[in-house]
């Protein structure tokens, strides 16, 4: 009964959000439309963060790395090889997946706070490389004047903010749909089981490292595709798009949006980005502080706050408990 009501409410919210997104370019000015397109791209990165952090229980601060790889790969291909958006998307997703695959050995056995630190380092390293590799990335100046693209062969160029926005919206909707469909298969079941109890999953014969590597590479591909959308949306890309503040915003958005729902991750990230841009005008220079406080508040006040976060391993170091004591059957929950 209550579950049904919750589901109906979620459906309603989702439908309202989709309707608003479709109608947006006819109701707001071009500047806002461009801003929305960029926010959608970031929302797709948030989906990849939600896939790792929320669904699989593998918290990450490093999805800016495949995001950047996808963005630059897309910009380079767009400037020199092809003006077809689908090609850019494919190349960007492949670049994001390849970058994630390279980092698999670093993340495959790390969990909890250690994983957060490793992924943070990966993200920072990616920004540094991008800033230094001037011949390809334009260094800290970035790559300006990326030519306009067309979605498919034979289609017109995306010449207006509205067209670029609608293209971004269609791609994000399609990719989110694919992610949701895949999560309904046994893939989703195994990821959630790994989040709940990884040792039990091993004891049942599952190759957990393969699951971890797989979701990591898949999330890399999604973030890479988002990078391509960023390039379409702002026709410019620079290391400033991939800094630590972006990673932190994404994680905040995913925590606020409900760590276990992929759609919630997208909405949460959009809200956080909107809040940041608004705060930037109201309290120049203070935005990071306010967002930091919002993060702490979110973790503690939201319905899940205070309970153990649904991640594999510990987020906070704990005193090692003697296993023999911990192994005893819990007297609570014993039926009379």
């Amino acid at each position: 009964m209550r579950q049904g009501a919750v589901r109906a409410l979620r459906r309603g919210v989702a439908a309202a959000v989709v309707a608003a997104l479709v109608l947006a370019p006819w109701t707001v000015d071009d500047y806002t439309v461009a801003l929305l397109a960029r926010t959608l791209a970031l929302g797709l990165v948030a989906v990849s963060v939600g896939l790792l952090t929320g669904v699989a229980g593998l918290p990450t601060l490093g999805q800016t790395a495949p995001y950047a790889a996808g963005a630059y790969a897309s910009a380079v291909v767009g400037s020199h090889l092809s003006d077809v958006g689908l090609v850019h998307l494919g190349v960007a997703a492949a670049a994001g997946a390849a970058l994630a695959a390279v980092t698999v050995p670093l993340v495959v056995s790390a969990r909890g706070v250690v994983l957060l630190m490793i992924t943070l380092a990966v993200g920072e390293l990616a920004v540094t490389v991008v800033g230094r590799w001037r011949s390809v990335t334009g260094g800290t100046d970035g790559l300006a004047g990326v030519p306009a693209s067309r979605p498919l062969w034979g289609m017109p160029l995306l010449a207006t903010d509205r067209a670029r926005y609608l293209y971004t919206l269609v791609v994000v909707a399609a990719l989110v749909g694919v992610v949701l469909l895949v999560l309904r298969t046994r893939v989703g079941l195994l990821l959630r089981a790994g989040r709940d109890d990884e040792a039990r999953l091993r004891a049942s014969g599952h190759r957990v490292p393969v699951h971890v590597a797989g979701v990591h590479v898949a999330a890399g591909a999604v973030a890479g595709a988002a990078g391509s959308l960023l390039v379409v949306a702002q026709q410019f890309v620079s290391p400033a798009d991939f800094g630590f503040d972006t990673s932190a915003l994404l994680l905040l958005g995913v925590v606020i949006g409900g760590t276990v729902s992929v759609g919630g991750a997208l909405i949460g990230a959009a809200l956080v980005v909107a809040a940041r841009d608004w705060l930037f005008g109201v309290l120049p220079g203070q935005a990071p502080l306010v967002l930091g406080l919002a993060f702490v508040a979110a973790v503690h006040l939201l319905p899940d706050g205070g309970r153990r976060p649904p991640v594999r391993g510990r987020l906070l170091p704990a005193v090692p408990a003697r296993r023999a004591a911990q192994d005893r059957p819990t007297p609570t929950g014993v039926r009379a």
């Binding site: 046994r186 089981a193 709940d196 039990r200 004891a203 049942s204 014969g205 023999a324 059957p329």
Partner: protein
């Protein structure tokens, strides 16, 4: 005939403490073997070593004559070792049915014709049959995290069997169960097909004697004796050692 499982000279040390100190164990196919001993004797540690979740400092483990000492828990599970933990381990956000389904997937038999969901279908059939056998069909859609202790234990038993094990390791399955639930457990274990061998760690000797044909007594990480229930009951030193520990 080679035993289904044989462990030789298993040693596990935690700092200066020898949790296991040269333990030998042999289990024949289809056997009901009990492992008893006072708290801290090393029973759980021995199950961990057999299941591959703890690496022994010394000794080796053979399963069906093949050396599995260096294999991890997942590989051993795929070779037929099922495990029920001392504290029921279930996937708490998954439903009861999803729990059994996930456990059935690695060894689900794929029918000849290739189909994207053939493996899932096969696992679903295994899971539904098991749910009925264990008596969980009525709560199949309930998230396992919402269940009481006794029902979680039932779920984990179904999870342990879903991988079609040749050897089922049970760590104090009766602990924390009501008298009715213990009765159910005994009947269920008795009805297990002989294709599954059982290694049962249990403090309740009535269960041990009712189910098992061989008993090994462990104390301070060493085997004190192995024999039939009658032999173990008759052995004075064993009774003393055991009573001392549980008193």
């Amino acid at each position: 005939m080679t035993p289904l499982l044989s462990a030789d000279g298993i040693t596990v040390r935690y700092g200066s403490l020898a949790a296991l100190d040269g333990v030998d164990l042999r289990i024949a196919a289809g056997q009901r073997h009990a492992l008893i001993g006072p708290n801290g004797a090393g029973k759980t540690t021995l199950l961990d070593v057999l299941a591959g979740s703890t690496r022994a400092g010394g000794g080796r483990v053979l399963l069906g004559g093949r050396d599995v000492t260096r294999l991890g828990p997942a590989a051993r599970a795929r070779r037929g070792i099922g495990r029920i933990h001392q504290r029921p381990a279930v996937w708490s956000t998954l439903t009861v049915r999803e729990n059994v389904l996930v456990a059935a997937l690695p060894r689900a038999v794929r029918p000849g014709r290739w189909h994207p969901s053939a493996r899932r279908r096969a696992a679903e059939r295994t899971a539904d049959a098991l749910l009925a056998r264990v008596g969980l069909t009525g709560i199949a859609a309930v998230p396992a995290g919402h269940l009481a202790h006794g029902q979680r234990r039932q779920v984990e038993i179904a999870v342990g069997l879903a991988g079609r094990p040749r050897l089922l390791l049970l760590d104090e399955p009766a602990a924390g169960l009501s008298a009715v639930e213990v009765g159910w457990l005994l009947e269920f274990l008795r009805a297990l097909p002989r294709a599954v061998a059982v290694l049962l760690v249990e403090h309740r000797l009535d269960l041990v004697y009712a189910l098992c044909d061989t008993v090994t007594v462990l104390r301070d990480g060493r085997t004190l004796a192995t024999g039939t229930p009658a032999e173990i009951r008759a052995s004075g030193p064993v009774r003393e050692a055991y009573a001392e520990g549980v008193a």
